[in-house]
């Protein structure tokens, strides 16, 4: 089955309703489901981010020695989480694409790339702005900062590779392989502050043990994280919907051009 027919609107109900995973590969079903979810996710993103920003920047107590600079954390930490989760979802899409030949995973991966790269750029930029007044340097080559910079370049590579081929299928395949190889960077980022000594501090929030953060400082991080994750999901969904619709329109136009050509031939 080639890509153009796969994304054409199905003529009728799919035989058997599809099998397991491929049930969600049906672009029509994806458009219906995502269309219903999208307004809610967008609303959650806007409301939670607004609450988190006002709470974190306006009302949360400042750190005793860093002062108001510590508030950069309310952008920096969720952006770091997004860059990480974005790449994780890219790797997941890559597995779905390479093993199960899931066509929606290819489209989603191509759309997640730029959003994840933007989150990583935001994380690096806010970190740099935070580093100068606190550490005394915009940038240092320690393990945490370097591994996140590598993640940013991996995103850029995936973005470029997916779009580098005339045949989109080959681009998706190359991008998926790069995304999977690059996933090695994720545990390195996570544990860089534990495995090696770095200038970047260790994690304040861990799965085991209490957060090393006063609750009044910690709480605004929760709506901020929810809001920014929801925003990431909303933007990715909207972009993937647009990509699916674009594919459909192209398939329809191609089909029409083909029938017109056949009609002209018949007329001659």
């Amino acid at each position: 089955m080639d890509a153009s027919t796969e994304f054409a609107p199905p003529p009728g109900p799919l035989p058997g309703g599809g099998r397991n995973l491929h049930r969600f590969a049906n672009p029509g079903r994806f458009l219906r489901l995502s269309g219903r979810v999208l307004p809610w996710v967008s609303a959650i993103a806007l409301i939670a981010t607004a609450i988190g920003l006002v709470w974190g920047l306006g009302f949360a107590p400042a750190d005793w020695q860093q002062g108001d600079s510590s508030r950069i954390m309310y952008i920096h930490v969720p952006a770091a989480m997004l860059s990480y989760m974005g790449y994780g979802s890219l790797a997941l899409c890559a597995v779905l694409s390479l093993v199960w030949r899931h066509p929606l995973a290819d489209l989603a991966a191509a759309e997640i790339g730029p959003v994840g790269a933007a989150a990583t750029a935001l994380c690096l930029a806010t970190g740099s702005l935070w580093g100068k007044p606190m550490w005394g340097a915009w940038w240092v080559w320690d393990a945490r900062l370097t591994s996140v910079l590598v993640l940013f370049f991996l995103y850029l590579g995936q973005i470029a590779l997916v779009r580098a081929f005339d045949d989109p299928q080959r681009g998706y395949r190359a991008g998926a392989i790069l995304a999977l190889v690059g996933a090695v960077d994720l545990p390195i980022i996570k544990y860089s502050v534990d495995w090696w000594n770095t200038l970047h501090q260790g994690s304040s929030i861990t799965l085991t043990g209490a957060p090393t953060m006063y609750v009044g400082i910690l709480y605004p991080l929760i709506p901020m994280t929810i809001g920014m994750v929801a925003g990431f999901i909303a933007i990715t969904l909207a972009r993937t919907r647009a990509a699916v619709m674009e594919r459909r329109i192209r398939a329809l136009l191609q089909a029409r051009a083909r029938t017109e050509a056949v009609g002209q031939e018949a007329a001659i």
Partner: protein, 167 residues
């Protein structure tokens, strides 16, 4: 074996290979990946005179001496990791977060007398965040002296965790 299963297996084997390769390279490079050397490491792993490296540790309490040499602020302090301490001389403006008990990373060279001449001093703050009131309360109650190093475990001051009865 279906084609899907075969592809999954190939992917797992490749993943294992890439992961092992990355792990081994990082293991081999671990001393270069480390951002700084601690004073204790310095004792048995001497970098040699004139070689530039980063020294990291806590500023020892009561060791900071600030002077003014020819209009340039100059400071000398001892950087410790609890076991060994190294004297650091630095001429220039220290970062805002610099204080006794704070983590610092300085770039420079070892002098023949074993002291360290820094060209750059960076502050390394830890992962604890607390408002001024909490820090003051901890200091007042004698639970924490910031000059002696890291704050007590978060469970003793973070209201997220249940306080022990009678404590």
């Amino acid at each position: 074996m279906t084609r899907k299963k075969r592809r999954l297996l190939v992917l797992l084997v490749c993943g294992l290979g890439v992961g092992t390769a990355a792990g081994l390279s990082l293991w081999a490079l671990s001393s270069d990946v480390a951002f700084f050397t601690s004073p204790s490491q310095l004792a048995h792993d001497h970098p040699g005179p004139g070689r530039s490296f980063r020294l990291g540790g806590l500023v020892e309490a009561g060791s900071v001496q600030r002077t003014n040499e020819g209009g340039k602020p100059t400071a000398s302090f001892r950087v410790t990791d609890g076991n060994t301490a190294v004297v650091v001389h630095y001429s220039g403006i220290l970062p805002d977060l610099f204080r006794e008990g704070q983590g610092v990373v300085s770039l420079g060279t070892l002098a023949p007398d074993g002291s360290f001449t820094a060209q750059e001093v960076l502050a390394k703050h830890d992962e604890t965040y607390m408002p001024k009131e909490v820090a003051e309360a901890l200091k007042k109650s004698g639970h924490w002296n910031p000059e002696q190093g890291a704050p007590p475990p978060a469970s003793t001051w973070n209201t997220l965790t249940v306080k022990k009865t009678g404590g």
